[in-house]
Each structure stands twice: as C-alpha cells, then as structure tokens.
C-alpha cells in the first residue's frame, strides 16, 4: 500500500486550509437543534461543495439537453460536458482508456453490472466468487444472486479481530475454481484499508479477475488502477462530494468488450431491426437510456474540486484527523473502538457500555453532531464482532479537530445519561 499515505505526517498540512474548505460547503453552515452542525457522516454521503452545486445547476439552467442525440447547440454542450466528465473519471482512477469508464447509478449498480454482464455468462457450477468478511451488502448480495443463477459458489475470506484481511487467509481460499475476487478497497464500517495490490497479484496467479469496491477509498486516497493491477473498479459519486445517483465503473477494455449488454434500450445500440440488433461498443453498450447527465457532470466537478485540493494532501489531512479522533475517543469511559487495523481510513466505529448505538445517535444529534448508527449495511461484520450495531463517526475533508472534540463532548453526555 505504498501509494497510500496512511501514516500521520509529522508536518502540518498547509495545503488543506480547513477554514477555506469549510466555506466551500454551504450545508456545513447551519444549526441543528440550535447547535452548529458537526457533520461526521461522510462515509454515508459527503456534503457537496458549491462548485458541484453550481455545475449541476448550470446543466439544468443553461445546457439542458439530451446527449448523443441532437445536433443543436444545447445538446452539443451537454454532450461535451458529459464526455469531459468521463475523461475526468479516467484521470481520477489513472485508467488507461476513457472508453473503459462506464457511468452507473453508483457502486451498487457497478457491482451488479459486472455480475450480470460479465460474470453471469462465464460462470457455472464448480466456479467460485471470493469476497471478504467485511464487505458491504452491495458487494455480497449481487454475488449471491449470481450464484443462484449460475450454480457458482460464494466463498468468504474471514477477517481478524482488528478487522483486517490477511493475505494468508486470502491465499487459503484461492485456487483455480475462483473466477473473480470481489472486495472492498476500504471497509465502510471499520475503515480498514485492504492490501488490494497484493490480493490482486495472488488472484491473478490463479487466473481470477479482481473487482474492487472503491466506495470508501475514492474520496480519501489517490486511486491508481494500473498500479493496483485490478480488472474492475467501482465508486460512487455522492461519496466523493458529487451528486447522488451517479457513479462510475472502470473495467479493462477487453473484459468490457466480452461482456454482454447490461440493459437494453436507446443509445446502447449500433443498429436495430426486428430480426437483429447489434450493440454499440463500450462504454455506450452499458449506458442504455438517457443517463444521469447532470449527475455525471456534477461528478466531474467534484473530481476537479478534489484534484485542486490535492488528493495526497486530503489523505494526509484525514490521517491526522483519524489519529486525533482515535486518541480523543479513547478518553470516553466505556467506549470501545470496533475496527482497529493499523491501515485505516477516516472511519471511527465504536460501541459503548450500557448505551445502544441508536440511543447514542439520538443523543449526540441533539448536540448537533451527525453520526451514523446501525449495521452500516454490513450485517456479517456485526455478527463477526458479536454486536447488533455500532455508532460510526466518519471523516471528510471539511472536518476539524474541533468537530471531534464536539463528538467527544456529546459522548460524555451519553455516558452520563446511561451510566
């Protein structure tokens, strides 16, 4: 994981000016229950900078037209902006080719697309899909559906008490029966960074392809699909400070080319007759119907915003915050962190003696502090740790040490109420 800046830097991070960044996010500047909002739920969805809001507004106010379909000026502008956004995603992932980037609704659709369009025609009885014990439901259920359809089997790499995926445990599950390894780049409920390059090497050694769920990695660290060596990578726009309802799938051109279409409809065809239809080439083959044009363009603006801040700077800054928050939470009596891998990103999941996560969530909300509570769409992780749920504070580029202090102060109130 040398490409990830996961260790706190001794130096300060002059490149990320927290006060300036905070001014860019209008949603931060409001009161909740009479208290200034402290937003610590970016792993669920990140707030949006004004630049993204403006980009989406501009589409509807000025460039409102369908893409790829008309010769008039508005359609031309919309098409150019939409395709420019595809280029931004390509650069964001360091993908070799722009045509390898498919716009989807989000990570979930990206995983389902690979499952149905690429894997389904290729898998059968005796084949295996390998996932890990810390996957989000969106990287479990599509594979279970695929297994029901094809007779393939789902195999799961266990996780350690710290919430890590060990390479030896991956190797133990890898053999020539495994056709695809689908795993998180970063765990959404624990924050663990997985050794994805090493996992990819091991998977390729037995002939398996690798899909990475980058929902929780893309917002926080530079992602280089060529350096990792994976075959598919998916991420969601709304977690990288972009709009909801848009995300991207990157796949190697040869794999996308050999995949079946995902949905039939307009735009994804080359020619249609009642006897025979031929399909467009990738990525158009996978983008049937009018896509989320404003969403894709807004995602492009979000990528511009992150790149302008500098993704290394963002990663370094968030590591400082994570280290600060980890120490701060340790001062709360009766609090236990869940997910203590040495390689972590931006997530502080915890439980408290005597207080259920839902009660924690309601009480800190009354202090203006927004955190997520529940199973985080990772019920197998909760089962692994023998808990029904956790409270989760997650970080974004706009968070500050003061936000974490506010969280700790609110948690002390929880502790007082339930002790």
């Amino acid at each position: 994981m040398t490409e990830l800046a996961t260790q706190p830097s001794a130096a300060t991070s002059p490149a990320v000016d927290a006060e300036r960044v905070r001014r860019d996010f209008p949603a931060l500047h409001q009161q909740v229950h009479g208290k200034p909002l402290v937003y610590l739920d970016s792993a669920a969805t990140a707030l949006k900078p004004q630049a993204v809001i403006d980009a989406v507004t501009k589409v509807y106010a000025e460039d409102c037209a369908n893409i790829h379909r008309a010769v008039h000026m508005l359609s031309q502008r919309a098409t150019i902006a939409y395709e420019a956004a595809r280029g931004k995603v390509q650069a964001f992932l360091n993908a070799p080719q722009k045509k390898e980037v498919v716009f989807v609704r989000g990570c979930t659709e990206g995983v389902n697309l690979v499952a149905q369009a690429w894997a389904r025609p290729r898998l059968g009885a005796g084949d295996r899909i390998l996932i890990t014990g810390l996957e989000h439901h969106s990287n479990i259920v599509p594979w279970q559906i695929l297994c029901q359809q094809t007779g393939a089997e789902l195999s799961v790499v266990p996780i350690t008490d710290a919430g890590e995926v060990r390479l030896e445990d991956v190797e133990a599950k890898l053999d020539e029966r495994v056709k695809l390894v689908a795993c998180s780049h970063v765990s959404n409920s624990l924050g663990t960074v997985l050794p994805v390059r090493e996992i990819t090497e091991r998977a390729h050694a037995v002939g398996a392809k690798v899909l990475l769920d980058g929902a929780q990695a893309a917002p926080h660290v530079p992602v280089d699909v060529q350096a990792i060596g994976c075959d598919f990578y998916v991420f969601s726009g709304h977690k990288v400070y972009g709009p909801t309802g848009v995300g991207a799938l990157w796949g190697r051109a040869e794999l996308l080319n050999e995949a079946e279409p995902y949905q039939g409809g307009g735009d994804m065809i080359r020619s249609v007759t009642f006897e025979k239809t031929t399909y467009a080439s990738t990525p158009t083959k996978f983008e049937a119907g009018t896509p989320n044009i404003a969403g894709a363009i807004g995602l492009g603006a979000a990528i511009d915003y992150l790149e302008a801040l500098g993704r290394e700077n963002v990663a370094r800054r968030e590591q400082e915050l994570l280290a600060y928050g980890t120490e701060a939470l340790k001062t709360v009596k009766g609090l236990r962190l869940v997910g203590t891998a040495p390689e972590k990103i931006g997530v502080l999941s915890f439980v408290m003696d005597d207080a259920h996560p839902h009660d924690i969530g309601t009480i800190v909300d009354a202090e203006g502090v927004a955190i997520r509570t529940g199973h985080h769409c990772t019920q197998p992780v909760m089962e692994r740790f023998g808990i029904p749920a956790t409270a989760r504070a997650s970080l974004g580029v706009y968070n500050t040490e003061a936000d974490l202090d506010a969280l700790v102060k609110a948690l002390v109130k929880v502790q007082e109420m339930f002790s």
Binding site: A355, H356, D359, T362, I363, A366, P388, M417
Partner: protein, 149 residues
C-alpha cells in the same frame, strides 16, 4: 435538550436497563420474532393466552433503550388483559408515538404507556418504540415473524 429529556425519562432509562418480564412464559401458546432490518434489532415475544385473556407475556432480544423499555412496558400493560384490550392499547400507543393522537388516559396502564409520547418528536425512533407491539400483534395473529420495514 428538553425533547431529549422527554424521550429519555427516568422511567424509560430504568426499563431500558432493567427490563421487566425479560423471560419467556412457561406455558406460552403464541410467539413471534420481530425484526427491524434498518437497525438490526431483534426481539422474540412469547404469550400465554387462556380463552381471550393474556395470562402471561415475556420477551427477549437486543435493542436500544427505547425499544427495550417499550417492550418491558408493553408486557406489564397487557398482562391480564383481554385480547381486545391489548389491541386497543396498541392502537392508542401507535397513534401516540406517531404524534397522531394525545395519549388517551383511560386507565393506569395507558398512563404508563404515555411516557413514550416523547417519541413523536423523533420520527426516526418510532420503529424502535413499536417493534415489540408489532411482534405481540403478529404472535396473536398467528404469524411467526414480523419486520418493521
């Protein structure tokens, strides 16, 4: 904070920490599992019905303070009552926590239930407060499980 105090009254905190009837009746005739898929809370309610009277009722499971205290209070409220009375309590309770009705102070048991009136100010917590009641209703109607989706 006043709304929060209204929600987490001493009574609720007490029943959340020390739930009453947190066991199953020996002669249970009806039972159901209740499940809140949004938060992962699970509860099992078992009831001993004789004729049309709830002779005994108990529950087990894991949940937040609101759901545990509500289950505890429910068991105390409906024990010894007829099925029709239990149904009426549930209807009143549901309307109250949804903010659709003022607690109707018909008798002592319903007065106890009124400590959950504060839930109405927290729409996200209504399912916590009603999980046990939905489970009780499912058990009495012969369903094995219920989910508050």
């Amino acid at each position: 904070m006043s709304e929060l105090r209204e929600l987490y009254q001493e009574y609720v905190l007490d029943h959340g920490k020390n739930p009453r009837n947190f066991r199953f009746p020996d002669g249970a005739t009806h039972e159901a599992d209740g499940y809140n898929p949004l938060c992962g809370d699970k509860i099992t309610v078992k009831i001993e019905v004789e004729g049309d009277v709830i002779r005994d009722v108990g529950f087990q499971g894991q949940g937040c303070a609101i759901s545990t205290a509500s289950a505890s209070t429910m068991t105390e409220a409906v024990k010894g009552k007829t099925l029709a009375e239990a149904k009426q309590y549930f209807d009143t309770f549901l309307a109250m926590v949804k903010g659709e009705a003022e607690p109707d102070l018909l008798d002592e048991e319903l007065e106890t239930l009124s400590v959950f009136a504060g839930v109405a100010e927290f729409p996200m917590r209504v399912k916590c407060a009603t999980l046990a009641w939905h489970t009780l209703t499912a058990a009495l109607e012969g369903q094995d499980e219920v989910s508050t989706e």
